[in-house]
């Protein structure tokens, strides 16, 4: 029993220490965005790596998510004779919840894990140390552009997810199941209010930052060789998925 309590205590201490470490890491990274040298090319490279390269997988997940939501929504709404509201149902759940959350999880699986592996390898092969001895700050050169790229790219990817999802819903709802095209879009326009869109944007910004922060932090503090890198990569994917869902709850309750 005492052992269990001790273990719990140890775990919570570790958790607090790690959370604190990440916040300091984040502040340092963002602070370094404000001081020269500025490297716009590095930012573009990372937007390409993290954002552009995730576009296809985000479109694919977006399309299927919209399609399945139209299918589910159609049969539920039909029971009440209100299939006309299908567009509104699909758009609201995409914009408020599914878009930001699923985009976040896809980006973390595709780009987050790659970021951890890349930085982790730089750590264990002393590339970060080498940079430091050349008087180039590795957090400023390697980490900061990735953080900014996450904040910039994930909202765009989320918007793409939403749009493709709405079109996927259109394909199933209107073309396959026969909801009228006019009501699909007009119900959407009537029910989606600016707050929904703001909420979605805020979520995607927070998720983007969280995913890349976790990925960079885990990579930067990798230890114990190649095995350490694979462990860190694993932790990145699990931790960012958990954090995305936890944040989602917090932010949703804030916007409701």
């Amino acid at each position: 029993m005492a052992n269990l309590v001790r273990q719990l205590g140890q775990r919570s201490l570790n958790f607090v220490r790690e959370a604190g470490g990440m916040i300091i890491f984040l502040l340092e990274g963002l602070g370094l965005a404000l001081v020269p040298p500025f490297r716009p090319r590095r930012l573009l490279q990372e937007i390409y790596q993290i954002g552009v390269k995730s576009t296809l997988i985000v479109m694919l997940t977006g399309a299927f998510t919209g399609m399945v939501m139209a299918l589910q929504g159609f049969y539920t709404l039909k029971q009440y004779g209100s299939e006309g509201a299908l567009g509104s149902a699909v758009a609201l759940s995409l914009i408020r919840e599914m878009g930001p959350v699923l985009t976040g999880i896809m980006v973390s699986a595709r780009a987050g894990s790659a970021v951890t592996a890349e930085i982790g390898i730089m750590r264990i092969t002393e590339q970060l140390d080498a940079m430091d001895t050349m008087a180039v700050n590795p957090i400023q050169y390697v980490v900061m552009p990735k953080l900014l790229a996450g904040v910039i790219a994930v909202p765009f990817l989320t918007a793409i997810f939403d749009v493709v999802g709405i079109l996927g819903g259109y394909l199933v709802g209107v073309i396959l199941l026969g909801v009228s095209s006019g009501s699909y879009f007009s119900s959407m326009v009537r029910s989606v209010v600016p707050l929904d869109v703001y909420g979605g944007i805020v979520k995607s910004l927070v998720f983007g930052l969280t995913i890349i922060l976790v990925a960079c932090y885990k990579g930067y503090y990798t230890q114990h060789g190649a095995e350490g890198v694979s462990k860190a990569t694993n932790q990145t994917v699990v931790l960012s998925a958990v954090l995305i869902l936890a944040w989602d709850y917090v932010l949703t309750s804030f916007f409701m």
């Binding site: 730089m122 002393e126 590339q127 140390d129 080498a130 001895t133 050349m134 008087a135 180039v136």
Partner: protein, 247 residues
């Protein structure tokens, strides 16, 4: 001159350095020898500022390193060149970009001037111009070492640090790398600290040798002095005896 005074460092209760005292004279090559895992890399990382000592001081030309911060520290680091144990070439950059990296980041030289200097270094390291566009994972171990050496020296450092410059290389490549170190040292007269367990080859490049054992420097002197040192620990290490004296 680099002077280390009473340097100690522990990791999680395990004492790696236990009161190191060592002087490295200006313009000379000092080699620290010792078994794998005694803390040679840890010692080197303290001098280049990657690790902070638990206690003790490091003076470079009379300047206490621990007092340097921010801009001053960055200025100071520009006088150093470091060859890391695995080369530490940047995976995402090709050979040319790796060697040019310090110049592009830290100087205002034109691209033409940078290209000229990079090519001079490649020639100096007996590398052909075809390697310029190769990435580190496409290079052999010996090529990696030479590219890393070119990058470490591109800013003409006053002090060079070598962490196991020849470990894992075949005998001809070992000779080549040692030859390059001797040659560049003759040309520019930098101060050097090398850590290595590659005996007896290091005796030919060293002006001064120090042996690290159990957290302390147990012997220091010229190559001959160390080779004829009375301490049985030193002798058995030089002769490559297995598990000498309880390890």
């Amino acid at each position: 001159m680099i002077k280390i005074v009473n340097l100690t460092k522990s990791f999680a209760g395990h004492k790696v350095l236990d009161g190191i005292n060592l002087e490295m004279p200006t313009g000379q090559i000092t080699v620290v020898i010792g078994k794998s895992g005694v803390g040679k890399s840890v010692l080197l990382k303290h001098i280049i500022g990657l690790l902070k000592p638990d206690s003790g001081q490091i003076f470079v030309d009379g300047q206490d390193m621990s007092l340097l911060k921010g801009r001053q520290l960055r200025q100071f680091k520009r006088r150093f060149g470091v060859l890391f144990q695995g080369g530490a070439l940047f995976d995402s950059l090709n050979v040319f970009e790796n060697i040019a990296f310090p110049l592009r980041e830290k100087t205002r030289l034109t691209e033409a001037e940078i290209a000229k200097r990079v090519r001079e270094r490649l020639v100096q390291m007996s590398l052909t111009s075809e390697v310029e566009t190769k990435f580190p994972d496409e290079l052999s171990g010996g090529m990696k070492k030479r590219v890393a050496l070119a990058r470490a020296m591109i800013q003409e450092p006053e002090i060079m640090f070598y962490d196991e410059p020849v470990t894992g290389l075949d005998p001809p490549m070992t000779n080549t790398v040692f030859h390059l170190i001797t040659k560049t040292h003759q040309e520019s007269g930098y101060t050097a600290l090398m850590v290595s367990h590659d005996l007896p080859e290091v005796f030919s490049v060293a002006h001064q040798v120090a042996m690290l054992h159990k957290g302390r420097i147990i012997a220091a002197g010229t190559s001959e002095e160390i080779q004829n040192h009375p301490d049985p620990m030193v002798q058995s290490f030089i002769r490559g005896e297995v598990d000498f004296l309880e390890g």
